[in-house]
Every structure is written in C-alpha cells, then in structure tokens.
Amino acid sequence: MLRKPLLLALMVAGCSKGPQADLQYIEQARSLGAEWALVNEQASQGKLTKTYVSSMHEWLRDQLQSSATSLTQPNSRYGEEIRALLQQPDDALPEQLRVHSNALKQIEDQLESA
C-alpha cells in the first residue's frame, strides 16, 4: 500500500528541478562559505598552520565549484551568491564571506518554509 507513494517520492526526489532541487546545493554552499570564514578568522588570529589554511582553501573552493555546477538554475539569486563567493580571494575577510553565506541561509530558509 505504501509502495506507490514511496516510489513517487523517490522519483520526485531524484528528478525534480528548480529551487527545491537546488536546495541541497544551496545548503552546501552556505556551509562552505561559513567554513571558509571560520578558517580565515582563526588564521588571522595565528591559530592555524599555513599548510592547513591553503589546503582548506583549495578544498573549499573545489566543493563550492561543484555546488555551483550542480545547480539546475545557475542564473538565480542563489546562483549569483555562490558565484560571488567563488570570486572572493582566498584570504577574503571573514565578514565579507559571511555576507554571502548569510544571504544563502536566508534563501534556504525561504525555500524551506515555502
């Protein structure tokens, strides 16, 4: 009896497009932006090694790029925010990175409550 709704839900989860389908990438990008800000904040206080910081920058950028390319609507507002994050230099100010991360969080909250 539960098989049909479950299959339908799985199909919807697997095939949907648009902001709802992009939600997981928005969440990923929001977290990556916040992780980047945290790394730069701690690095500015001298708490991290240079090697760790540069490796983290590389991986964070790589994952952000992957989130950006996975979007079904890259020209959306959230697509712009992710691109803006990608355009930041490695040693961007934490506050600057948090602006974009927070903007993504707002979009994420709106989509979740929709």
Partner: protein
C-alpha cells in the same frame, strides 16, 4: 589477566574507535541538531559492545570467526549473498578511510591528495606486511589516542554540560518540519551504521583467533569491549558536542573532513590543530587497515583458505594476495577522484544493509549451548542482542528510502 596487556588493549580500543564516517557524521550531527543525537551515539555504542563481546567470546570458546559461522548458519546461497554485500561494503569503507587519511595528510603536509593516496597505500601495505598482528592493531590504536585532544577541546570551550547530559536521553527535537524530521531520521540510521560498522566485528573476532584467545581471555575480552569502546565513543560524542557549540551557531555544517580539526584549533591554536590532525590521521589509517584485513579475513574464512597475519605472508598466499588486491582496489576507487564525503555516505549505506546478516549468525551461535557450553549468552546478552538485531533490521529497511528522500542527509 595481565594488567599491562589489558591496559594496552583498552587504550588501543579507545584510539581506534573513531573512523572517518564517525568523524564526519558526529561533526555534521552536532552542527545540525545540537546535542539531540548524542543518545544515538550512546545507544549504538552499547550495541557494538554487545556484539563485539559476543564475537570475542565465540572466538575464545568455539574458536570460530564470524564468517565461518555465516557459511554454516546461513547456508551457501545466503552466505554468498552476505559475503558479496560485505565485500562491497568493506571495500567502499576502506576506500573512504584511504581517501580520508590522504586528505588529512594533505592538510598536514600540503602534498597533492592523489599522490598521498598512492604513498599511503604503499605505507599501509608495508605496515601490515612488516608488523606482527598485535602491533598492527596497537601502533594505529595507540597513536590514535591523539584524538583525546577533542575531549580536552570540549572541556576548554566550557560547553553547557546540562545540555550535553540531556542529549543522552532519547529524544526527537520539537518543532522540526517533515523534511527536517526525515534528515534527523537519516542521521539516526547513519550514526547507528557508523558506530556498528560490520568490519569492526569481523576484525575483532578474527583478531581473537589470531591471538589464540582461550577461556582465560574471556574477562579481558569483556573489559576491553565495555571500557575501550565506551571511552572511545566519548571521543565521538566530544566531536559532536564541540560541533554543536562552535559550528552550529556559525552556520557551518562541515562539508569537508578537515573542518573538524578546527574544534581543537579554536581553543588550543596551532599545536591543537596539529595534534588533532595527527589523531585523525592515525585513527583513520588504523580503520583503513582494519577494513582491508576484515575483508580479506571474510573471504578467506568463507572459502576455507589458510589465513592470518600470525603466519608469514607466503604461508597464507591467497589471503595475502587478497588483502593486497583489496588495498589496490580501494586505491583505484580513490584515484577516480570521487569525493571522500560521497564515499563515506555510500559506506554508511552499504554497511547498514549488511549489518543484520552479520549479526544474526553471531547471535544464533553465541546462544547455542552445543558450541558455547556454559559460556552461552546470558539473559542480558540475549535480550540486548535481539533488541539490537531488531533495531538494525529496522534501520536497514529505512536506510535506502531515507537516503533518497533526504539526498544523503543534505535535505
């Protein structure tokens, strides 16, 4: 019972408890749901203690490793299916650990990730080849004790201890949307799977045979399982709690394993970061060795080959070739460039599907007086064993739908 051996055994169990999956899911669980998933860690730890003690007892009394039992108890057809599923599950888990350890080496040295994967594979193969069994376990387990820095870091950030204590009470947070409830349920399943990985029991019971456990070792087995794994689990809970305190409010839901090391860097600075990365390195490298050997043990035991690291590599040639080939296969998976986090998710998913088939024959044999005599399961082991078997069966049924509905816990 030799007190030194017992202490070393406990310390090895503590240092070797956390692997890449627990590290990733503990950090993510804390940032997304605060302290509300601590009870799942505690609950699953009791489960792995119950089954590890059982598998150690069976190894000591009946001299039977887990996969021998499987073939006899499940029959050839179901036994083969279980073997195939566990090979896939252990191989993906091994690849996730190998990818994880290469990443950590990249954070420590800055050397390219792919190169580190090749170097680590060679180093791990060499370490298994050269070290006696007892020292394979101990070297990684004892050096994995650097992970204690995560417990120290939690104390240093003055967390809300009342909330952490409250997290041990089974709960579902109030006010979650349907989607969040599904993600919460996915995390419950994932943590059960990560803590109760089947390879741990394959490795533990085969280790008992390697070390020729007998009746005199039953108490050591029980204490090591309870104290070692219990304390090891506290490290996972410390990672989760620091994440709830530091990452959740900062909108961080760790997307790369290296972020977890910040938990030690924030209170202790550079040396905290380095100790945390070293602890992660040895704990994850140890898990890579265990998953690979567990896989080779399973295959050799199922087909009745000569096996064991207590023998010279050329005295058990098929076993030796198998574990070397499995490491190379895991390396090949890592070299495809697949993301470590994706490997971790698949490892969790495949493992939970294999868990019921792993633990059922063990439960049956340890409860069989014909094999176990007076060392058969007591009422506590029997009750807990069947309770956990029910839980992991439910988790296995729910795992796939939850994975798809939540995009692997990503919402």
């Amino acid at each position: 019972m030799n007190p030194l051996e017992l202490t070393l055994g406990i310390m090895t169990a503590v240092g070797g408890f956390v692997d890449i999956s627990e590290l990733v899911f503990a950090a993510k669980a804390g940032s997304q749901f605060g302290y509300a998933l601590i009870w799942v860690f505690a609950f699953s730890t009791i489960g792995i203690i119950v089954f590890s003690e059982m598998s150690g007892r069976v190894a000591a009394v009946a001299k039977q490793p887990v996969f021998n039992l499987m073939r006899h108890r499940l029959g050839l057809k179901l036994g083969l299916i279980t073997l195939a599923a566990s090979i896939v599950s252990n191989l993906i888990t091994c690849a996730a650990e190998l990818g994880g350890v290469s990443l950590i080496l990249n954070y420590l040295t800055g050397a390219p990730y792919m190169l580190m994967a090749i170097v680590m594979t060679a180093a791990l193969i060499a370490s298994i080849w050269v070290l006696p069994f007892k020292w394979i376990e101990r070297v990684y387990g004892l050096l994995g004790l650097f992970m204690i820095i995560f417990a120290a870091a939690l104390i240093a950030i003055h967390p809300p201890w009342d909330k952490i204590a409250g997290g041990f009470v089974p709960q579902i947070p109030h006010g979650l949307s349907t989607k969040e409830l599904l993600v919460f349920a996915y995390f419950v399943v994932a943590i059960i799977s990560a803590v109760m990985f089947p390879y741990e029991v394959y490795f533990y019971s085969s280790g008992g045979i390697e070390e020729e456990w007998g009746l005199k070792d039953l108490l050591t087995n029980r204490i090591t399982s309870i104290v070692g794994m219990g304390l090891g689990s506290l490290l996972g809970i410390a990672i989760l709690s620091s994440s709830a305190q530091l990452f959740g409010p900062a909108n961080v839901s760790p997307e790369i394993p290296g972020t977890a090391a910040l938990e030690a860097a924030i209170p202790f600075g550079k040396w905290g970061l380095i100790v945390a990365l070293l602890g992660m390195f040895f704990a994850v490298a140890g898990a890579a060795v265990e998953t690979c050997l567990a896989n080779a043990y399973s295959i050799a035991q199922f087909f009745g080959w000569i096996w064991g690291r207590h023998k010279k590599p050329w005295e058990a040639p098929r076993f030796t070739l198998t574990w070397v080939a499995l490491f190379l296969l895991a390396l090949a998976i890592v070299l495809t460039g697949v993301d470590v986090m994706v490997l971790v998710e698949f490892a969790i998913l495949f493992s939970i599907l294999v868990l019921p088939l792993t633990y059922l024959p063990l439960l049956l044999l340890s409860g069989d007086r014909k094999y176990m005599g007076q060392y058969v399961n007591g009422s506590t082991a029997k009750t807990l064993g069947w309770l956990y078997f029910g839980v992991i069966t439910l988790a296995a049924i729910a795992a796939l739908p939850l994975y798809f509905l939540t995009s692997g816990g990503n919402g």
